[in-house]
């Protein structure tokens, strides 16, 4: 304030600088941490990528022959989970946003959030001790009656520890996140669009068809991709429920021979691994990281682009 300038500038105090500097530092730490994740995973993966593949567990022909079946298993399980979860999750989101009475809607949302709060290891325990025995008769029936269908080729698993059981548990686990995101999107539908549709005589379902779903479609797709990312990375359920066969690629849903997933394979083998096997497992983890990073980035990009045009802000 010593000069008589036309536009007085706020005095910069040292405390102000320290405070804003520390907030900037914290933000930068986050970016640095994400970069560090990539850097250190790559650094620890290189030994496995350049090593003789025969040294890896199971002596595969190459590193890619080792990771290929695992990546397939991850994608296949996540894809099945997504198919099961999507209709249910969209249904719940619509139910909470457009069907349930206003007063109870929030409470219903909390109940669905409870599903998200259950730790994954508890889901794993439930999947192996409750769900797997419960679905075994169903699998027996499926294999006996529609065994000609390639997905249900005999022999049937006697324990229920199949990829379909895993997918069901994964579906239950990703329903809350898909519901939460698509619920937000459905609620952002402009009021006027909905009321215009209703005023033209549309039933509630027709209103949803012409107003809510076209508006929310990008958000619904993003929600599905977020759920897919979550299902790809889920570890403990696969490690506990699935009975894996290393190096196998199979689409069969109900057999005792299943493709393992990247995350499940790491959890099962890491505690006893040593030497180059550790690097091999970290390299598969790096590939999982890249897959989920790409999927999540696309999903977030779509959501953020939508946010700017929505009537909510």
């Amino acid at each position: 304030m010593t000069t008589a300038s036309a536009s007085p500038r706020a005095k910069l105090r040292p405390a102000d600088r320290i405070f804003s500097g520390s907030t900037l530092l914290a933000g930068s730490i986050i970016l640095a941490a994400l970069a560090a994740v990539a850097i250190f995973l790559i650094a620890q993966s290189i030994p496995a990528l350049v090593a003789d593949p025969a040294d890896l567990k199971g002596s595969p022909a190459s590193f890619w022959a080792y990771v290929g079946p695992l990546a397939f298993g991850s994608v296949w399980a996540a894809f099945l989970a997504l198919i099961i979860a999507l209709p249910i999750a969209y249904g719940i989101a619509l139910f909470i946003s457009h069907y349930a009475p206003r007063r109870v809607a929030q409470g219903l949302g909390y109940i669905i959030d409870l599903l998200a709060a259950v730790p994954s290891v508890v889901f794993g325990l439930w999947g192996i001790k409750v769900l797997a025995p419960a679905v075994t008769p169903l699998y027996n029936w499926l294999v006996d009656n529609v065994g000609w269908f390639p997905l249900f080729t005999p022999p049937v698993s006697g324990t229920g520890r199949t990829i379909l059981t895993v997918a069901i548990v994964l579906a239950v686990m990703i329903i809350p996140i898909i519901t939460a995101v698509s619920r937000e999107v459905f609620l952002q539908t402009p009021r006027l669009h909905e009321e215009a549709a209703l005023a033209l005589g549309a039933t509630r379902w027709e209103m949803i068809q012409v107003a809510v779903i076209p508006f929310g479609r990008p958000g619904m797709i993003s929600a599905a991709m977020l759920g897919l990312g979550r299902a790809l990375g889920e570890t403990m359920v696969v490690a506990m429920v699935l009975s894996p066969s290393p190096g196998l690629i199979t689409f069969v849903l109900t057999g005792s021979q299943n493709s393992s997933t990247i995350a499940g394979n790491i959890a099962l083998n890491f505690p006893e691994a040593h030497g180059i096997d550790v690097n091999g497992l970290i390299a598969t983890g790096l590939i999982l990281f890249v897959i989920t990073l790409v999927i999540n980035s696309i999903a977030r990009f779509v959501i953020n682009r939508r946010k700017a045009f929505s009537g909510a802000n």
Binding site: A26, L34, A36, V37, I96, I266, N296
Partner: protein
């Protein structure tokens, strides 16, 4: 059928009376509910009949599920006959949407019921007073795991809250331009990092830095959990700081208060209830994480109070190892696993409840 209004004399069909044209051809309001209860009763009756005939046991979840499906079909057919195809579709979707909600509830109820029923076998005082050191078969408990969970999660909270809160402040109060956009975007992306990748990162990091290819220690688990916790803290704190009315900030500036003091004395106290809620929910999210701790903190049967040395047990890993590596007599191990699962669920539910209570009780009254 029954005329409620006196019919005008000009009407030729006086015997029929005038039916309210707005409600003709519509199902009465109680019809869907009656139909739903009816379908449940019918399916339950069929199940009970089958059971009496000697086939299998009565499965309440399956009965409710099949009853609801029957209701979906019945409401469509009946509405189609009475109200026409558009209304029928509307009712079908309404019932399907409600069915989706019920379907999602079934696993939750089954899971909670099983965990409570199975967990109570060993949910005794001995479970909370003993570790697993030198225990084979029955006995033992999860004290070492509970201690480890508290230490590792506590340390993760100590790391995450300052970084997360300061980042949120940066994004709301200072951040402009590409850096702030990049942070927002990557925080969102970070929420999707698989937890096992976080564990692998902590392992890769400390194995390289400390030159120990088989490293296992508690602090590494805290770092891995922080990676999962920070984005949650940032997102929730950011939302809460954005809710603070700008008038409060401007009033403070008008009194000559510097910006940093305004943030500390005005903005944060106004948003503190929401921030605390967010932090509590973030703790609840990471306290059940298993995979990263399995990798970097390992498992042990003994107490360990030192975050920086040796393997450290946590409740989720305890549940997993009790299930995965049982002794020759499996049952005591399973009982301990269920008791651990029950402990974990109780902790998570308590944290969620506390978060909601904080939000309800301490949120500022803004006179709206």
């Amino acid at each position: 059928m029954t005329a409620t209004m006196p019919s005008p004399p000009t009407s030729p069909s006086t015997s029929q009376g005038i039916v309210n044209s707005l409600t003709t051809g519509r199902l009465p309001k109680w019809a869907p509910w009656a139909l739903l209860v009816g379908s449940w009763v019918v399916v339950s009756a069929v199940f009970a009949f089958l059971q009496a005939a000697g086939g299998g046991d009565f499965n309440i979840a399956l009965a409710i599920f099949l009853g609801t499906i029957l209701f979906d079909l019945a409401i469509f057919v009946i509405a189609y006959l009475v109200e026409g195809v558009r209304q029928a579709k509307d009712r079908l979707v309404t019932s399907l949407v409600a069915t989706a909600f019920i379907v999602a509830l079934l696993p939750l109820i089954s899971l909670l019921f099983t965990v409570i029923a199975q967990g109570l076998h060993r949910f005794d005082i001995a479970f909370f007073l003993n570790s697993m050191r030198n225990v084979v078969g029955e006995g033992g408990g999860g004290l070492h795991a509970i201690t480890g969970t508290l230490l590792i999660t506590g340390m993760a909270t100590l790391i995450s809250v300052p970084i997360g809160l300061l980042t949120a402040i940066y994004l709301v109060e200072y951040g402009r331009g590409p850096l702030s956009r990049a942070i927002t975007f990557f925080v969102d992306v970070m929420t999707g990092i698989p937890s096992i990748v976080a564990g692998l990162f902590a392992f890769a990091f400390f194995a390289l830095i400390l030159q120990d290819p088989g490293i296992r220690f508690g602090f590494g688990g805290s770092v891995a959990l922080s990676l999962l916790m920070i984005p949650v803290v940032v997102r929730s704190s950011e939302e809460m700081l954005k809710l603070v009315p700008n008038e409060l900030r401007e009033a403070s500036y008008a009194l000559g208060v510097p910006k940093w003091l305004t943030i500390i004395k005005i903005v944060i106290p106004t948003a503190i209830a929401g921030i605390t809620t967010g932090i509590t929910l973030a703790i609840a999210r990471v306290i059940g994480e298993t995979a990263p701790l399995l990798i970097i903190s390992g498992f042990t049967a003994s107490m360990n109070y030192d975050l920086f040395n040796d393997r450290m047990m946590t409740i989720p890993v305890f549940v997993y190892t009790q299930y995965a590596n049982p002794g020759s007599d499996v049952q005591p191990y399973l009982d301990r696993a269920w008791a651990g699962a029950l402990t974990l669920i109780l902790i998570v539910m308590a944290l969620n409840l506390i978060a909601r209570l904080i939000a309800r009780i301490f949120s500022p009254k803004l006179g709206r």
